[in-house]
């Protein structure tokens, strides 16, 4: 059995999530490949050494440039700050590595496109970290929609709201660097746009509005100096899908009290689906059939009837956690590399999501609807 050697860039929040997923994936799933944790890169050699010990990587480096060209690395996983996604991914592709990159893939659709073209030319596999669509109940939601169980979709409401930037005293940070792209519409909006596309297909038209509520923040933790913020912290958009139906997209990182509100409702001509990541082991389904006196939204609880839940636990109701979604994501990536493609959120998907983000930004500036090509 072939062994894929992982090189991980970044040892922060998502770096650890990737590492844990790579550690678990071959124990959860029967895979046609093996996985080893080969090399980790972080901002300094010291930090990388510590991360290697913590996460179980064989080697460490303080320079991602070394990692992407290391001959012992087959797969590069990128969890660096957003502004570095493109250069690292481009270098890894150039070195012939398969590349997994966290979202948002690139600051603009144009840069995302370059990565897609490079990867396709190089013949390497790619993936973008839209982990929330990996939820078995989201797969179920898609199946329910595709099989017409709620009829033809007529509307969509999608939200991704959190509150990690709600405190005006939280200092400026890399997510607000215009060089890295937009603000919350990219950081969180990309997730709910990817979700919308996963469930209902391409978005053809948008009318968006971006708002910067907290217009300046401390330049750094404990700093008295204030730095202007240009990035949006609330984003709204009305959208039309290519299939015809309409909907809304909303993103906020200043939504006090919301820790992980990725929420959607899909209404169809015969029923509806409602979901929130706040209770992501539940999916609510309404079907306009049967005796009305006994009808209502039913709460489906995740279980082995919803693959690949059963690989984690053969009994329903035990619940998957966030890191399990990441493990499913890595399975899909590894299967894709092994020639059994399942993943759909490749760089091309990242590019498509970025096109929607770009269109929302343009729409917000022009204060008009914008059609996607």
């Amino acid at each position: 059995m072939k062994t894929l050697r992982i090189g991980l860039v970044g040892a922060g929040f998502m770096g650890k999530a990737h590492a844990l997923a790579y550690r678990s994936v071959a124990g959860v799933f029967r895979l046609p490949v093996d996985v080893t944790l080969e090399l980790i890169a972080d901002a300094s050699q010291e930090a990388a050494d510590r991360a290697a010990r913590d996460f179980g990587f064989a080697r460490a480096t303080g320079d991602w440039r070394t990692l992407v060209t290391d001959t012992q690395v087959d797969v590069v996983s990128i969890t660096a700050p957003n502004v570095l996604h493109v250069p690292i991914a481009a270098a890894a592709i150039a070195a012939g590595k398969h590349v997994h990159c966290e979202k948002p893939l690139a600051p603009t659709a144009g840069e995302a496109r370059s990565l897609v073209e490079a990867a396709e030319k190089a013949g390497v596999k790619t993936q973008v970290g839209f982990n929330y669509v990996k939820n078995p109940l989201i797969a179920l939601a898609r199946e329910i929609i595709e099989q017409g169980e709620i009829g033809e979709p007529v509307s969509f409401r999608g939200i991704h709201a959190e509150d990690y930037m709600a405190d005006a005293a939280t200092p400026w940070h890399f997510r607000m660097d215009p060089a890295g792209g937009a603000g919350v519409i990219a950081d969180l909006g990309s997730h709910i746009i990817a979700m919308a596309r996963y469930l209902l297909g391409p978005i053809s038209e948008v009318c968006g509005h971006l708002e910067t509520v907290i217009a300046q923040r401390p330049a750094a933790t404990g700093s008295a100096r204030m730095r202007a913020v240009e990035a949006d912290d609330i984003a709204h958009a009305m959208v039309r899908f290519a299939r015809g139906c309409t909907g809304t997209i909303e993103a906020s990182w200043i939504a006090h009290g919301r820790k992980m509100q990725i929420e959607f409702e899909v209404v169809g001509s015969k029923g509806a689906l409602a979901f929130t990541q706040e209770r992501f082991n539940e999916l609510r389904l309404y079907q306009a059939q049967g005796e009305t006196s006994r009808n209502g939204f039913r709460t489906i609880v995740a279980g082995p009837d919803h693959p690949p839940y059963g690989a984690f636990c053969p009994a329903p109701g035990h619940q998957l956690g966030f890191n399990d979604l990441k493990t499913i994501e890595m399975r899909d990536f590894l299967l894709d590399i092994a020639g059994e493609p399942r993943a759909r959120a490749d760089f091309r998907e990242g590019w498509e999501v970025q096109k929607v983000i770009d269109a929302i930004i343009r729409s917000s500036r022009s204060r008009q609807w914008v059609r996607l090509d």
Copy 2:
């Protein structure tokens, strides 16, 4: 003690709700006036006679014109089809009656304005049936916002979705008559716009989109003939409030599974409020204070701490029903007439709401933002 003699136009859904509220109001509250059910009008004398017996009115008429000029009537309550609101209200004002009218007040802001001017000139009291803002917990929500308990509002999401038109086999009916105004943006949208205004004040700018999903319906129950539908059955709008913050408004009468989803979330700089009419005896409050390990949205249950809940029941948790909201609404109207004004949803408020609706319609046509005067 003065007695106010009620004349009710319409004996359907809302007609009964008005009648029940007038029956109860003086038992629930200590009022400076008495109330008697004097005269009811419905489409025919026979229907009106039956309604008079059912609801306890002294007299009945098959012609609303008779009612509005009846000298034994002090107050006219209008629950007729939308298209009749303006003519009945105008006639009642002309006859010097105090007028309560169900929403939407008028098909256009211009017509609403005429009613406002006529009523103010005539010196009669008016009210529009925005019953949902009468909920004691909505009063609490407003108080929390006004007192800065969640800081300065930064965003609003408002929804009013139901499914009573979700079945394409449901025939065309008066709510779809363009002569009566817009579709769901007027029928349900008016409620959530009134709610938004009640909580956060005037709306200064909108960007809306109206959609007609079910483009034709049976002309009548059991009819094979189809009739084209022009009215919107889904409405979206991005809005800006005069106070500065932004938000969204959404209305749908084809939202399968939703029976009464008037839902909002107000995010402020220090907390948030979340509410749904589906559980309207609960209000969820988050405040970014205290020990974070113990923090979270708290579910406030309606009780006597939330006036005027205690007038219905001195113990918390027993719950008000929809008809109780209507009783509070009638109290406010009667107090207003008695010279102890509390109600704010007078015809002027109906006009303001209609201005927002009109602006959303115009915006949907021009596909651009529209500023309210």
Copy 3:
């Protein structure tokens, strides 16, 4: 049409609830009888006069003895302190009145039995105020059970918990007077026992435990003198129903945070029902059928499919309130008097409930199972 003249004893919490229900009932329902509010009695003439004005009664008295024999009164509604239920009811029956009495009917089953025998001998109609079983969704729950839609019942969990006595500084009051019967097992326990019986039929055996947690309270508001409390403030019982299945009953009036937790779950051989009064316009139904991947508890929202909801409002999801349950209760009582019996919670039912309470008390003392006759 015959007119029933109401005499109401007590103008407190439940007195007002009765008054409001009698005011509304003939407007909500088409009844074969009329209702007038004839006479109200309270602790003093002055209090009664005020209540008469507030609630709309024609006359007032400071002595319930006067009321129960008043020739202009057909129906006596008793909302006096528990300890007075038996003497007032007995006197009213002796005077040939129909009698509605709040729960608990009597301090002991023996006294309840005397009332039953007297009423049956006198040929008057009776009712006990088990208002929570009047919920349209509880009627639905019973129908679902009776029609076998969840199979044969195998277990029941019933709770009635509130927190109005949770504060140890709340003074001693009449509900703790041993002359009035037991504590929370009678005051709240009677409700959940009535619910259990309504859904599943007679209880044949109990094993109970009563606990007095707050063993002394201020003798009166503001009093420094403490008074010993003998009454239970937490009650537990394991029960067996005559039909065979088992279950538990629990009551508490010191359950901090719970304002109205009447909650039950009935498990059957093919499904289950779950309900809480905290959201009493919802009933949750699970049926072990259909595709398991789409199955789950469905949340049924009260609507006109659930009689008599439609008499209050023809649209689903608008919600009934507590006072509406009381209106349904009065309808059933009045129909019973008018010769169209629907009510089942007559004094005989009150006696049966009291037998269960008595058995739980005996069991708690003997620390053994007790069989009901």
Copy 4:
């Protein structure tokens, strides 16, 4: 750094859960020891070989007797059928291994005691698989109770209900073998008893009732032969804790619709805690303080404020899954072995839980309260 070599007995549901936890634990946490997956035993060599490949064990055996004495194994994890727990654990202890055993530890308290005494004599570390108490929010609940944040506990309601045996066509299986102990009171009841003890300390007295609802089942899958079932499938108990307060314990494996209802409510003299495993990343806290008009249960969402959540993810609301609880459990066991004790659910705790189970069984037979020694 010392390396602990794991030997796992059983490759089914819990076997995989143990394997995944051992794989992850050193990546999630910084541990003073390393872990390797050394040897796995299953019913046959072939099954064990497959499991070794699937889970990443170095070696495999078809005989647990070989495993427990293998010199390359330091730690034995037992996930075999209940009836084998005692012999395997005893053999492993005898061989000087540290032993982790799934619950229930033993069929009777006497057998559990023997294991405790053997382990203490041998000086090996032990743990029983009460994974649900490992939830960071359960640690928070305990802390809240211990610090008096809800005052002095006055009552407890604990439930563990699932529906995996609800279908009468589900065949007889090892959990029903009387040789392995009781039925659901041991299988699920042990979890909620352990939870009760974790939160409130020792139970001093019980009054229980066990019920066998489905009295016979197919002898095996597809078999026409029926086999009598002696084991309980519903269990109820009233309990008293040594600290004084009372409560109830309930277990069912035939609770249709319930997939993982481990639910409790602890009421204290100043507040309450409510929890359900169905939404185990949430804890509901009520405190009787502050302005009552703003008070209510608050929903605390798991986050890095609740150790060791942050080791899995530094952002709140992302949610842990079931396997993560198992990883925390393994951390505690490994730290205990490494001389940094944290785990409290050792074999002594398993024995204590079994004493409660035994007392409930005795009480059910004698139909009286039973005092624990």
